[in-house]
């Protein structure tokens, strides 16, 4: 079995996806997840019951107080289910799960906010044994985290990454301001000829990166535990086969895979001298 974990693009594809040689699946939970395809907790439990593959539920939306009662219901329901792991963003979810004595594996998916060996060691000490590692550090930094911690590392090798998440309804507000009809909840902006998708939903607005595809880079990161293929906003689930076959592809966008960010303006008096 491969180490591929898949985020499905739509409910109807789950069965087909599970038939492929993958390790498991991540299911966003309705009203608690940012993923494009979301499932009720009952649907997720049913899927887990019918497969021998790993089933992870995702609670990765920004959670306000009003969302906590639903989180509690979901955690209660998965207690005795075959759901294997909980992927969470908000540390309040973890806090609640510990209080409820939920005996499931936790995957911390803090995106940009968890980017070092020591931070991951901290979470591991809290019995969070897996990290869905951020894509805005380089693969060498990620390998360092893998080598120097006991964390199981999940890493997106394919998909659109959320790179901006606002509680504001930015498309609605814009179209009201310009007094035009908003015909869809999905638009694009461009920078350096790259397209960035803007998607508005009831919980706010997310801007996504261009499509990340690390299919040509897999050998460099073979030490990592799980490769995540996020099919949100894509139609073709056969991309999974391409990854299984290590098919080479031309001109893929790889984000910060081998590019460091900077944070001091060049020439600034505070510029870090490495």
């Amino acid at each position: 079995m491969s180490n591929l974990i898949v985020v499905p693009n739509k409910k109807e594809e789950v069965k087909n996806i599970l038939q492929k040689d993958i390790k498991g699946i991540i299911l966003g939970i309705e009203n608690l997840s940012t993923y494009e395809a979301c499932f009720t907790i009952e649907e997720a439990i049913e899927i887990a019951k019918e497969t021998d593959k790993e089933v992870i539920i995702a609670i990765n939306k920004m959670i306000h107080n009003s969302g906590l009662p639903l989180v509690k219901i979901v955690l209660e329901k998965i207690k005795d289910s075959k759901i294997d792991k909980i992927l969470f963003y908000d540390l309040g979810i973890y806090n609640m799960a510990k209080k409820m004595n939920i005996k499931k594996d936790f995957i911390i998916g803090l995106e940009h906010l968890n980017a070092s060996i020591d931070s991951n060691k901290f979470y591991y000490e809290k019995e969070i044994t897996s990290t869905f590692i951020t894509s805005d550090i380089t693969y060498r930094e990620i390998l360092d985290i893998k080598e120097n911690t006991k964390m199981k590392v999940y890493y997106t090798v394919y998909g659109y990454l959320p790179i901006f998440y606002s509680r504001r309804r930015l498309l609605t507000n814009y179209f009201k301001y310009i007094d035009k009809e908003m015909k869809d909840n999905l638009y694009y902006i461009k920078n350096n000829e790259l397209l960035y998708m803007i998607k508005e939903r009831e919980f706010g607005t997310i801007i996504y990166s261009p499509l990340i595809n690390l299919i040509n880079e897999l050998e460099k990161i073979s030490n990592l535990d799980y490769f995540v293929i996020d099919l949100s906003f894509t139609e073709d689930i056969n991309i999974i086969d391409d990854f299984l076959n290590h098919k080479k592809v031309k001109d893929t966008y790889i984000g910060f895979f081998d590019t460091k960010t900077t944070y001091k303006v060049k020439g600034d008096k505070n510029e870090k001298k490495d």
Binding site: N65, S116, Y263
Partner: protein
């Protein structure tokens, strides 16, 4: 009686810190040269942090130091020694977003209070409870919370909470934005944010047809101004209200801090009248270079809370000069000029030790006592006669009130 709400000011350097304290701040938050989210602000050397803390403590005030970047492996070197220094200097708290800092402080048993940065987007009582369980004493809540949400967090956790009251807003939940990384290579969560949310873009639909409009798409938010709900903020039990802006000018800091100081004191003295509120609003509106409004406190922001007017921001010309001395015998004020003014202009002076008062500008003299009557050279030393005593660092501005 409940403790008075804390007025927390930004300070980008030692001079700004002194201004902030002089104009009424109870505490200042500052960044060191490393590990702080305003990487391109001047920030404080370790020696300056020590000086700032001594200065503040002599006034009975507090200094909090931001150590709030999201650490990458390469950033961790030197952090333990840095934190030990901060503890040695007796800073009143460190503001952190990455829990590895908490781990170090606890491991080395450092005598440092820990506040959680808004960068963590702490939005619910369970998350705040998690921080509390780590020994954190205060959480700076996310700017996206409503009054009811803030109140519920306070009621359910009992922890100190700090809430933003004034200044620029992120359009994204803090910490969940890397637009700057993708668009410019500058790391938003390590202090390099290029404010992409303020950029304007043509918007394209699914078929990549451009949405035609004179106004381009932007995520830009108007600034935050909570003065109208300051009473509610006090009454629900917020511990500290925070003014944003470590890179703002002395004039901005003095004006905003002074105004919130008056607002808070008026509230506690039961002397906050509608007339005063109108006056304070006028002052805050004048000092801002962008429109400011309440954001999430009472509703979800609409198009009225967004900023679609482009990058053009007003340059404030109200700030005319800073008092550098007053000769009581000659009744002569000496100032350093900042913006153009002339004899006959209606101006006012405000400061921490005086009631704001206005007057018509009399004859103006240069440093050699020649009559000039027009101030047109910023940084020029000028003098004029004034019967009322004023003090060093009082500020002269265009008449507003």
């Amino acid at each position: 009686m409940k403790k008075k709400i804390e007025l927390l000011a930004p300070a980008g350097n030692l001079e700004k810190l002194k201004f902030a304290f002089a104009y009424g701040a109870d505490a200042c938050y500052i960044g060191g040269r490393e590990y702080s989210l305003r990487a391109n602000a001047q920030n404080f050397s370790l020696e300056e942090i020590a000086e700032a803390v001594t200065y503040a403590h002599n006034l009975g005030k507090k200094v909090y130091v931001t150590v709030n970047i999201v650490f990458h492996n390469e950033d961790v070197n030197g952090l333990v020694d840095y934190l030990k220094k901060l503890a040695e200097y007796k800073v009143d708290a460190v503001i952190v977003s990455d829990p590895l800092v908490i781990e170090i402080i606890n491991k080395y048993k450092m005598d440092l209070k820990i506040f959680i940065s808004t960068q963590t987007s702490s939005l619910n009582y369970e998350m705040v409870d998690f921080w509390k369980s780590l020994g954190v004493t205060r959480v700076v809540l996310g700017r996206e919370l409503s009054k009811d949400e803030v109140k519920e967090i306070i009621d359910k956790t009992g922890i100190e909470v700090e809430v933003f009251a004034h200044g620029a807003m992120c359009s994204s939940y803090s910490g969940r934005c890397t637009l700057s990384n993708y668009f410019t290579g500058r790391d938003a969560n390590r202090g390099g944010c290029a404010q992409i949310c303020r950029w304007e873009f043509p918007l394209y639909d699914k078929n990549l047809e451009e949405v035609i409009s004179d106004t381009k798409f932007t995520a830009s938010s108007k600034d935050l101004m909570m003065m109208d709900v300051i009473s509610e903020m006090i009454e629900i039990g917020i511990t500290s209200i925070k003014i944003e802006g470590r890179m703002r000018s002395n004039y901005y800091i003095a004006t905003v801090i002074n105004t919130y100081r008056l607002l808070i004191d008026d509230y506690y003295n039961n002397s906050l009248t509608e007339e005063k509120i109108r006056k304070y609003r006028k002052i805050l509106n004048r000092v801002a270079n962008r429109e400011a409004t309440i954001q999430f406190w009472d509703k979800l922001p609409t198009e009225n809370e967004q900023y679609y007017l482009g990058r053009s921001e007003n340059s404030n010309q109200d700030f005319l000069g800073i008092v550098t001395g007053y000769d009581e015998q000659e009744k002569m004020v000496t100032i350093t000029e900042r913006n153009y003014f002339k004899k006959g202009d209606e101006v006012e002076i405000f400061g921490p030790n005086i009631e704001t008062f206005s007057f018509t500008m009399p004859d103006i003299y240069d440093a050699d006592n020649n009559i000039v009557n027009v101030a047109r050279h910023p940084e020029e030393i000028l003098k004029f006669k004034l019967d009322k005593k004023v003090y060093e660092n009082d500020i002269i501005r265009v008449k507003i009130s």
